[in-house]
Symmetry: C2
Subunit: 438 residues, 2 copies
């Protein structure tokens, strides 16, 4: 059988998974590619650490030129995380004539325009199914399967760490610190979980999806982002009492005000598919005008699910499909339609809201707060106020939580009203303001 030489640059967790599939399961890649994907080199600065894969010693090197200087290698899985040296190495790979497959979402979200332009100039391709939602083929779904649609909405659970943490908080009544500790102990969160829990990782992925689905040339830093790092288990419990779950939701919605992008803890009604996604799973709901709602769920990270996506991209590249997709999608190019996408002013977008304030349990307090909301055109759908509980944020104070579910209101109004209510004498501490999706 014909052989096509491939290489891996970056021999970490994902790289080891890719090596395992190429070395141990060559028959299946051969069957789908019509030829053997022959792993000719693996490049990593660390050539000694064991990775649990039986790699012939001659393959592993710390010298990138073993790949860039070998013309017989045509496809490279570039699996280095972070921005540098990943960016420089990807440019070198493209410039040495390689088609590249990557799972590095931070790199694409930050330097997509530069990298894709360079690949186009050089006649090369970049495939990146593994960069968003790991084993869920969402890039292929939006980039190829749903091309007959005008996509109007994408909502996703794009970060498995956050979903694992919120699941633990809900199901075990754990507080945030306990849950993140458990996630770290079980390998679902890194020692420094900042990128995950602040929503930055989800923002990287949403920036890529927004480019893919809407041609929006948006930096991930422009996306209004709130993480789960400030999440209080009290709110998860209130949400539960109201029939909802709180998840970190990444959303991109086409509205009259423009394309609305957002990452934030969001209340989802139980029973809805996204609300039922537990633990470290990812999920994406796409709405297209022809197809209606399509829902995808699977493992969004982890060694083998991501390696599954990377190897599928390598096969796609070898057979030529990835090159066609790369050309026809024209991602991050300066096509006219990119210019026509207008981002919505975040403060002008509409949502229902969950509000929680700690209030002094006196007569007239609800009227005062309701009055503030009313002046911002925020209409109350329901209210919960229980009797004072011990162990609330304020200890055994006279303050009790007041929970308000609103009808649809503008984000700016909800934020402004909350800021004003926080300053009232009858409230203490910060208010909570989360979106609610039906």
């Amino acid at each position: 059988m014909e052989k096509t030489n491939v290489a891996i640059v970056g021999f970490g967790n994902i790289g080891a998974g890719v090596a395992r599939l190429l070395l141990d399961e060559g028959d299946r890649t051969a069957r789908h590619a019509g030829r053997t994907l022959w792993l000719k080199a693996v490049v990593d600065p660390d050539t000694t650490r064991p990775r649990g894969v039986d790699l012939p010693a001659s393959l592993l090197t710390d010298d990138l030129s073993a790949v860039t200087g070998d013309e017989s290698i045509v496809v490279v899985a570039q699996l280095i995380g972070g921005i540098e040296p990943a960016r420089t190495i990807m440019l070198k790979l493209l410039e040495s004539g390689k088609d590249v497959v990557t799972a590095n979402k931070a790199l694409l979200a930050e330097h997509g325009p530069e990298l894709f332009d360079r690949a186009r100039e050089l006649g090369r391709s970049i495939a990146f199914e593994g960069a968003v939602a790991g084993g869920i083929p969402i890039i292929s779904a939006i980039g190829a399967s749903l091309t007959a649609n005008h996509i109007t909405s994408i909502r996703g659970i794009l970060n498995g760490t956050c979903n694992f943490v919120t699941t633990l908080m809900e199901e075990q009544n754990a507080n945030y610190q306990e849950a993140i500790g458990e996630a770290q102990a079980r390998g679902y969160a890194e020692a420094d979980p900042t990128t995950d829990v602040t929503g930055a990782d989800a923002a990287h992925k949403l920036a890529i999806l927004a480019q893919l689905a809407f041609g929006a040339r948006v930096s991930w830093k422009e996306i209004p982002t709130a993480g789960i790092d400030g999440l209080d288990v009290a709110d998860i419990n209130w949400a539960k009492e109201l029939g909802y779950r709180i998840k970190l939701i990444a959303s991109a919605e086409v509205t009259e005000a423009g394309l609305e992008l957002n990452i934030s803890p969001t209340l989802l009604h139980r029973g809805r598919p996204l609300a039922e996604v537990r633990e470290a799973f990812n999920a994406v709901r796409v709405v297209g005008d022809a197809v209606g709602k399509v829902f995808f769920q699977g493992m969004g990270a982890g060694q083998m699910p991501t390696a599954s996506a990377v190897v599928a991209d390598m096969i796609d590249t070898v057979v030529g499909r990835a090159g066609i997709t790369f050309q026809t999608l024209g991602l991050w190019s300066r096509k006219e339609d990119s210019a026509s996408i207008r981002l919505a002013d975040p403060s002008a977008t509409w949502s229902r809201y969950y509000l929680r304030y700690l209030v002094d349990d006196h007569p007239g307090v609800l009227a005062e707060i309701a009055g503030k909301l009313g002046r911002h055109q925020i209409s109350i759908a329901s209210v919960i106020q229980h009797e004072a509980q011990k162990g609330a944020a304020s200890g055994e104070s006279p303050y009790v939580p007041l929970i308000i579910m609103t009808h649809a209101a503008q984000e700016g109004a909800a934020r402004q009203a909350t800021a004003e209510i926080e300053k009232l004498d009858c409230t203490i501490g910060r208010g909570v303001c989360y979106r609610v999706m039906d």
Copy 2:
């Protein structure tokens, strides 16, 4: 912009949806294909019936040679249902040099080998995303996105009509006849719903998926199939009491006994993604050894969801991706791996079972039935027997339903035990024996 001429053969409901996307939404197909998909001809024996789409009169003809004789037309959406004349027309289209896109699952399930061989001989391609689960890109997922996996299990709700009917039966306590009437009134079931309710349509689709995922060259008629046409709302209610829902499930599982294919009403534990799929939605759960579980849900039928899949296939064909996929997949070809797939002996496959018998409410009856089960190595997990109810199948007789949930047992044993139990003096009528999936 460059133009590529395309045509539609079969101007029914789906054909009209495809025409609408091509005519009204040409800009989006152009953006994804890099050229305009120009609808040059629509062929149907009925050129007068209105279809709710604004088709220029000059396009519509009853003469197939307007397509087969026009060399400028390169891609044809063949959207005639049934076997003939669809088969003959597809062969003519291939022989006149057209690449074909179809949504006809019955045709592929019955004549896939002939049609795919002929297309290969002629250097043409057949794309068929719309044939299985409509708007869910399951063909692309299995055929391209999950190619790095050894797929071990596919379970799906592949027939929207059946799922709509079982949803109505469960949620409105409707009997089968009432539910099918409501489904017909709401356009979810045809006047003659036989193909849907007997499971034949699901078997067509499963035969295609089994070929795609496992290389199994199996006729849909070989798949053990039970439909929902014999489903009693009483069983749906008993299942509910036990925490389950009954759905028509199509399953393909790799087991030690070989590839096990089955279509039957099946109990699914509530909360599991497939159990939560309501109304006319379709869903598919695929398990791969690298990716783990991946779950897809969307509209499985209907004009625009299916048209969405057909037009995406037309774009894929025009840009060249479909041709590559067609070649690399080698579907229904005589590759060696086709021969290596062994179908499991259905009677030797294992499952848990839900059993219901109408029994005479006498002492010793449970012992007698439990004894029969025990002699077939069927172990009882739980039993429900309520007091006699009015309005049961036997009227106000002394017979009461006895519901048994078993541990894993062999299908042959469960069937044989049920046949023997039906013959006991202490039971009346037919027993019920459904699979249970966790």
